[in-house]
Amino acid sequence: MAATGVGVEPSAEPALDLPGAQFVWTPPVPVLAPYLGLVTAVLCALGGGWLLLAPYALDYRHGARTTPRTTEIDLATGAAVAAVALISAALFAAALARRLHAPLGAELETEPVAEPEPEPTADESEPFAPLYATSASTVPEPAPAPDALPPEPAADPIGSLRELLTPLVAALAADLKSRTDGSQGGVRP
């Protein structure tokens, strides 16, 4: 079983039924949440930039000599917002990159195969049992069954279609011929 570390168990159904090896399905990486956080942080950074520009764009001073307190508040708050938003965006981007590079996905897990023990008195009634219990390198290939049938030839779709349509065409031709003969015999000049 692959440990994902987040309390998620892979599927119990292996996609590949091989002795000693199986595919373990693991869930996809959750990337939507840090992506939403990244977008939000970038939007907040834009808001902080607007706060830094607003006192000059909207001319809070109105020609006064001194800078009004609202300008100072906006500049300070805008700088704080921009800094916090940029740091948050960097952290969300790092989290997103970590998740995108996480080694998740379909992994081929190989289970350790036990070494076969030599058994001089092997049971002859189960000749194929060791094949599933030991690795393929230590088990000799089983001899083909003597009564094994030769492999069937590959199905010919055109031939089967012809076999299917031939009696139909013959029946249609016979029907057409009988109609033609009947019409010729029924009409008297």
Partner: protein, 84 residues
Amino acid sequence: MMPSPIARALRAPVAALLGLALLALLGGWLIAAPFVLGDQLRGTAWTAATRTDVATGAALAGVGLLGLLGYLAAAVAWLARYGR
């Protein structure tokens, strides 16, 4: 015990989430600042600075809260779909 690379990759970005919460609080501060500091007198027409502060603060607070809720919703949806 060292956490696995997968667990490290899937760890929640707590500092970034705290940053989003701080941004929402800064938005609230922007909304309240003109009235708290006395720059906007009660009963008078709002100045351009007050309008800008209130609008930008509301936008920041809303976006920050939406980001937090979106992160929470995405994480809960992923856990509901793939979690134990």
